[in-house]
Every structure is written in C-alpha cells, then in structure tokens.
C-alpha cells in the first residue's frame, strides 16, 4: 500500500510542486487479484511530464472525497462540439474549489466499430489522442456500447473529437436522441449467427446519424442487434428496437455427431440436460442415440444447439425477429421488448433495405406520437398494441402474445371482418376452409 501522502513532482504542470492528494480509502482498492482502476488512475497522476497529471491528481482527490462523504459531486451542463448537439456528457465539479484541475471532466461518447473489433494500431492512436487532449482514462465500453473517453475540459472536447473524427470515429448518442448501438460478435466468429449483424447495425444507424447528432426525439431510442436468441447484447431487455437472429426451417442435425455426443456424455446426461430441458418437449432421444426434433413445436430457444453445438445448428432459412419496447425502470417500471415482427428475411440487399425502412418508420412513429420523456414501450402500453400495429401497417400474429386476452372488456362487433382478413392473409376462404386447386 502506498503512503497516505505522496510527494508530487511538479504535478500541476506549471513547475510548482503540488502535493498528491492522500487517498487512504481508494488505496484499499489496489490490493487483490483483479486489475485495479485506482492503480491505473495513479499511473496517470504520476506521469508528471503529461498535461493530464494534475487533472488526474484532483480527480483522485474528488473521488476520495466521495468515498469519504459517500456522495457524488458532479453536475451536468451543456457542452457540445461544432455541428453536433449531443455525444458529450458534460461534468462540472461541485467541489471544484478544492479540486480545480478536474473541475471540468467531460466524457466523449464515441461509437465503436460494430462488434467491438480493433487492431492495436487504432487503439494506440486513440491513446495518443486522449493523452494529448484528455485525462488518459478510456472505458471499453459503456453500457450503451460507446467507447467512453472520460475526462477533458470544454476546449478539449473539440480538439479530441476533431482528431478522433479524422481517424474515422464519430460521436455517439446522448439525451433525447437515437443512441449508440451494439451488435454481438456474430458473423465474425460465431456459428449461431443468423444474419450479418454488423451490416444491419451500420445500415440502420448510419442512415440515421442525424438523429444521433442532433437530439430531437421525445426521449432516447436504442437499437441492439443479436445474431441469435442467446441475445449476447441483451437487446430484449435493453433496446427499444431489438433485432434477434432466427430461422424458419428445421434445426440442422448431424446424427453422427449426435451419436458421438451421446457416446461421450452418456444417455442419462443427454436426457437430463438436453431432452428434459427443452421448454416445449420438441426434442427426443431415439433408441439408436440419434435425435428427433419436432420443429413445429420448437421455439428457437437455442438450448439444445448451445449444448450440442457440433451436432445441431440453426436452419438455412435465416432472418430476424424484431421486438419493440424494452427499457429499464423509469417511469412505469421495467418493460421487455414485445414480439412485433416474428420473422423478416435478412439476406439480400433488398432485405436490408426493408429492415432499414421499417426502422425509419418506427423512429418516425416514435417522434410523432410519444409524449416527452416517454420510451416507445410506454407509448405501446398507453395506446395499446392494436393501435401501434395499425399505425405501422402490421397484421396481428399469434406469435405476438403469450396467450390471447383474458379480459372481456373489449368491443368485438367487427370480429367477423377481422377473421375474414386473417383467413385471406393465410390464403383460405372467408370461413377458414381451404381453397380448391381451381380457385
């Protein structure tokens, strides 16, 4: 453990020696096997030849003050870069008199490459830029998926952004705007992937960058893209618009690999952990150690594929499900996304254009209809799903519900006409019977 008072070595950058703040509480976060953010902050503080050393010294001072008082001491404000209205999280210290070097400590939210891929060259460039114009502290990544360049002055925001923008990076969302998006590793490395996640993300987000850079929506709006229902980017909980890869045809089965799996793991293990854990009893083990799958009952939960990933795989008729309305507690309580589009094919250029068109229509609907500070999930609750489907020209589908309504408080005098429309969509007669070949 370090001394409670380290002697600074000209840490204010002006030649005059300034003592490092004592950090007895933070020092206790330096021990233990997990990498310590406090040790990292001290490395920055002790880089006395760097412009950020005095800022990080005062930042550590304020953080220690928070650990002592058990309170936060930052307030927001308004800071942006030329041409944009969002993307900077302004932070002004409420105890700036005690810690003047870090009295402005703004964060730049920067959109990462889809799937969070980097090479060391671009990471080093980012470090160099943030060493010149910021605190030297970067988070990979925030909960919305941004690279967070944490800690710079108001003037530093523009300088850092200009240089980051020159190497191909752009600011993300903040405030009532389209937000930075996330996609899983997907096509880049995962056999479960059912669509090109990075392409879908970049198609939708990059056609709507204006909504990110100039906040003008009723409240935040988030897209997230997961290649399969394992949902590694937590889209259903966390996104207003969740795009989840899926497939329409049968699970692909390599029966020889199934036999090899059963031979290795044993029948009891296979029955207990694959067959018995299927939520719809859609898989069964045959006497010859092959499997049968009832694909009509399968809900695409991924469990059997996750367990037997060499033997089983998603089908070939790939696309996405779209769920709308996920969010956290403010203000009506937690909401998960609701199934709105059970299947949209996503393979050809036209398919991606269609996804983009639908995304734009949903954003427009949100902009036109949500109340101030209302997430689209709350709008759906307020107006009811039928009104939303009507506005977006989407037909009702039994995949949208856990079960049909249980309340009798509904007016049904046009039920027959609605049923006829349903049968027409299914290619049936108005009474639901099959057409003759001649018809």
């Amino acid at each position: 453990m370090t001394d409670t008072v380290d002697q600074g070595k000209g840490a204010n950058g002006n030649g005059a020696a300034k003592e490092n703040h004592a950090t007895p509480r933070l020092d206790q976060l330096e021990g233990g096997p997990w990498p310590s953010f406090v040790t990292g902050l001290k490395r920055l503080r002790d880089s006395t030849d760097k412009q950020y050393a005095p800022m990080v010294n005062d930042l550590l001072g304020q953080l220690e003050h928070s650990y002592t008082e058990r309170l936060g001491f930052w307030k927001g404000g308004t800071v942006s870069v030329f041409g944009y209205g969002g993307g900077i999280i302004p932070r002004f210290s409420e105890v700036g008199d005690k810690f003047p070097e870090s009295k402005e400590f703004h964060t730049l939210r920067v959109m990462p490459p889809a799937g969070f891929h980097y090479d060391t060259d671009v990471l080093r460039k980012m470090c160099d830029i943030w060493e010149r114009h910021g605190s030297g502290l970067i988070a990979f990544h925030g909960q919305s998926g941004d690279i967070m360049f944490q800690g710079t002055t108001t003037a530093g925001c523009q300088k850092a952004f200009d240089e980051l923008n020159e190497i191909g990076f752009d600011l993300g969302g903040a405030g009532p705007a389209l937000r930075t998006s996330m996609s899983c590793v997907g096509h880049a490395r995962c056999e479960m992937s059912n669509f090109d996640e990075a392409r879908a993300l970049r198609t939708v987000i990059n056609s709507n960058v204006g909504e990110i850079h100039r906040p003008a929506l009723p409240y935040k709006f988030k897209f997230k893209f997961s290649g399969c229902p394992n949902d590694c980017v937590n889209a259903i909980h966390r996104a207003d618009f969740a795009v989840i890869g899926t497939w329409r045809d049968n699970i692909k089965v390599d029966q020889e690999e199934v036999k090899a799996y059963v031979a290795k793991q044993g029948r009891k293990y296979t029955i207990d952990h694959v067959v018995a854990m299927c939520p719809t009893r859609a898989i069964s083990l045959n006497d010859d150690d092959t499997v049968d799958i009832d694909n009509k009952s399968c809900v695409r939960c991924m469990h059997c594929i996750n367990v037997m990933h060499k033997a089983l795989a998603p089908g070939d008729d790939k696309g996405v499900s779209i769920l709308i309305g996920g969010k956290r507690s403010l203000k009506v309580g937690d909401l998960m996304g609701t199934m709105i589009i059970p299947f949209m094919k996503l393979e050809s250029d036209e398919d991606y254009a269609k996804l983009n068109d639908f995304a734009k229509r949903v954003i427009d609907f949100f902009a036109d209809n949500a109340l101030e500070h209302e997430r689209i999930g709350e709008t759906l609750d307020r107006i009811g799903l039928p009104a939303f489907l009507d506005a977006l020209d989407i037909e009702p589908d039994p995949n949208m519900v856990k079960h049909p309504r249980t309340s009798c408080y509904v007016r049904t005098d046009d039920f027959t006409e609605e049923a006829e429309k349903y049968f027409a969509r299914k290619g049936l007669r108005p009474d639901g019977s099959k057409l003759d070949a001649a018809e």
């Binding site: 933070l26 976060l29 233990g32 997990w34 990498p35 310590s36 953010f37 953080l63 058990r70 309170l71 930052w74 030329f82 041409g83 400590f105 959109m111 889809a114 799937g115 969070f116 891929h117 980097y118 090479d119 990471l123 470090c127 943030w130 030297g136 970067i138 988070a139 990979f140 909960q143 200009d162 191909g168 752009d170 600011l171 998006s181 590793v185 096509h187 880049a188 490395r189 056999e191 090109d196 993300l201 970049r202 990059n206 960058v209 394992n230 949902d231 937590n234 259903i236 909980h237 952990h273 939520p279 991924m302 469990h303 996750n306 990933h309 956290r328 507690s329 203000k331 009506v332 309580g333």
Partner: protein
C-alpha cells in the same frame, strides 16, 4: 449600401480560425480491424469448443481455425493499461483484439501454438484469463462517483471488491452454467439485468433545497416525472418550489435527474439492494427480470464487505445446488422461493411482496406450495 462598397471600405478584422466541420461517418466498418481469419470466414463458422477456461476454438466450414484468449480488465482503463494490452497483442498475439459486452478483452490468434505464451503474458501483467463457459464473467457496471451526476455509490469500487472475491470463479469453469452479474449506482439500473444484481436502493424521500428549485428546475416536468404523483408545486418562503407527499413517495429518485435540488442521495439513507434471477438469453426459459432478495445493506466504501458477504452466500448456494445448465433464476424456479431463502439464509419479508402495477401476476395463484 452595396456589399462591394462595404468590402472595399472596411478593413478586415482578424477572423478566428474556422471551426472544423465534422465528418458524420457514423459507425466504423469492423472488417478493417478484424483478424484476417475472421474476415476470410465471415458468416461461415461451423462449430466451437473450449480447450480450457478462457480459451475458445472456433472452426470454420472450410476447416480454418481461430483461437480466442479472453481476459478480464478494469474497464475504466488508463492509456498505460491499454498500451500494455496492445504490446501483448503485438508480441504474443497477432495484433487484433475485441471487447465483449461485459468489457472483457479477447485476443485472436490463428494457431494454438501461440495460446500458452499469450496466457502467460497476460497473467504476468495481472490480467486474469477466463470468463468463458460456466464461469462468473466480469460484472457489467455503471459510472458511479467517478463520473455520473446522480450516483448513489461507486460501481467501479463495488466491482473491484466483488471480482477480487470471485477471481477463482472467473478463471475456472466450475459454476452450473454461466453467471452474469451487474451493478448499478442508482435505481435507473444502467447496469442491466443479472443473475445477481447489486443496485443502489434509496430508502428516504428526497431532501429538497427550496432555495434552488425555482431557479434550476422546470417544475411541471419534475411533477410529471414522478411515477406515483407525489410531487406538487408549492411556495416556500415566497419562492416557487416543490413539495413531496412523503406517504406516497416510493423513494425511486426519478425527480432527482431533472431537479438536482431534490437530493435523493445521502450518506446514510442511500443503501444497496441485491436482486437475483435476471436473464437476457432466451435459452430454455424466456428472458427474465431480476427479483429483490435483500435490501438495506450499507453503502460501505471502499470495499462494501456486507454486500460481498451476501453475494458470496447466494453464489455458493447456487453453485452447490443448481444442476448443470440451470441459470440462477431457473434453479430457483425448480427448488422454489421457500428453499431459496432457506439455502441462502436470507429473510423473506413484506417487502418481497410486489405492490407495483401488475403485482398480482407475481403472486402464487395456485395451490402449489413447498414445505
């Protein structure tokens, strides 16, 4: 006066440098940064396995292989840490990395030969290798006292303390299945849903600084933010302010972000609550929200020992009792809440009975009981 005349008669003032116009380039293309084997086999992977904790082997349809070594980071990284990770990627790896949703870093190499030295280099520099398969991965978390404007605690410190405690569970794969833990510094819960969630829970109504409300807050907007309509405009000492019906107030803190004089945080009343059974994946059961199990734990920096103790109890009760592939919530679904509270030694109280909209759907409307 014509422009021509004006231009010729007025001496030009020194113009400030023209601000740079941004290139609205949006999300960068990841292919330019991707390992060449991943780029070559984009969308054409066949299967994978885990040769050891922290290492993935993915095989493409054409037989190409890519090995991934996953390591934990502190997420809030100084440039020295990032450059050290780059040095490791350049000397022991192949110069390409990515980050996971939970802020783990992944190093990709085309041959297993490079894996042992890569792991050794990471361990030597203090980066734990793990977080794959049936492990406790890195805790996803929020900004806290370091940077947030409304934090009740410091997620980075809570996470560091807990990951120290669970270090062994990160570098091994000995849990029933994957464990995803989250931490949030206020009830907005930016950390998200988790098998275990460690979240700030306020316990008192906001203390109002009446002298500042009128100048800082847009009062109708603050009134509108309250989920239980407990806030009313009022005059205090001749100044416009707001008042809170403390009998109705649910202490959620929703009024605080739009109106900082509605101070929800205090050193004493800001507490920590623990929730369990949140799940994002659709595997087996539907995605699920986490459920409250313990509230009123002290917000006790720098290492939050009371929180650590409860998390340990829950984690190891789950480890001892859950079946392979059962997530926390699925384990509890099987054994039932009575056994969960018995096995963890935690108390069941009236505060576990939901009172929010739709609460009846969370009650047991059946004769199914467990003894």
């Amino acid at each position: 006066m014509s422009n021509v005349t004006e231009a010729s008669s007025t001496p030009k003032p020194a113009t400030p440098p023209k601000p740079r116009k941004p290139t609205e380039s949006g999300v960068p293309d990841p292919l330019q940064y991707m390992h060449p084997v991943m780029r070559k086999n984009y969308g054409n992977w066949a299967w994978h396995e885990r040769p050891r904790p922290g290492v993935l082997r993915h095989v493409a349809k054409n037989g190409d292989e890519i090995y991934t070594v996953r390591a934990g980071t502190q997420r809030q990284m100084d440039v020295y840490t990032i450059r050290k990770l780059c040095d490791i990627a350049d000397t022991q790896g192949e110069g390409h990395v990515r980050f996971t949703t939970r802020s783990n870093i992944e190093f990709m190499v085309a041959s297993f030969d490079k894996v042992p030295a890569l792991i050794e280099a990471l361990n030597k520099e203090g980066f734990p290798v793990g977080g794959t398969g049936n492990s406790v991965s890195m805790i996803s978390h929020t900004q806290g006292w370091l940077h947030c404007d409304i934090p009740g605690t410091d997620a980075s410190g809570v996470v560091k303390s807990l990951m120290d405690m669970m270090h062994k569970e990160f570098i091994t794969e000995e849990m029933p299945t994957r464990v995803r833990i989250t931490t949030s510094c206020c009830q907005i819960n930016c950390g998200g849903q988790g098998d275990i969630a460690i979240n700030v829970q306020y316990t008192k109504p906001p203390k109002i600084d009446h002298g500042r409300v009128g100048n800082i807050c847009e009062r109708p907007a603050v009134v509108a933010r309250c989920p239980v309509a407990a806030i009313r405009p009022t005059m205090v000492n001749g100044k416009p302010s707001l008042e809170v019906d403390e009998k109705k107030c649910i202490c959620c803190g929703a009024c605080y972000p739009p109106c900082p004089p509605m101070q929800i945080n205090s050193a004493e009343s800001t507490k920590i609550a623990i929730w369990v059974g949140g799940k994002h994946s659709n595997a087996r059961s539907r995605p699920a929200f986490h459920k409250l199990v313990v509230a009123n734990l002290p917000n006790n920096p720098p290492r939050w020992p009371e929180v650590e103790e409860i998390v340990r109890k829950i984690l190891y009760a789950y480890k001892d009792d859950a079946k392979h592939w059962e997530r926390m919530g699925e384990w509890i679904e099987r054994i039932g809440w009575p056994q969960f509270f018995e096995k963890t030694g935690l108390a069941f109280t009236k505060h576990h009975l939901d009172t929010w909209v739709g609460a009846r759907h969370n009650m047991n409307m059946s004769a199914h009981v467990r003894f």
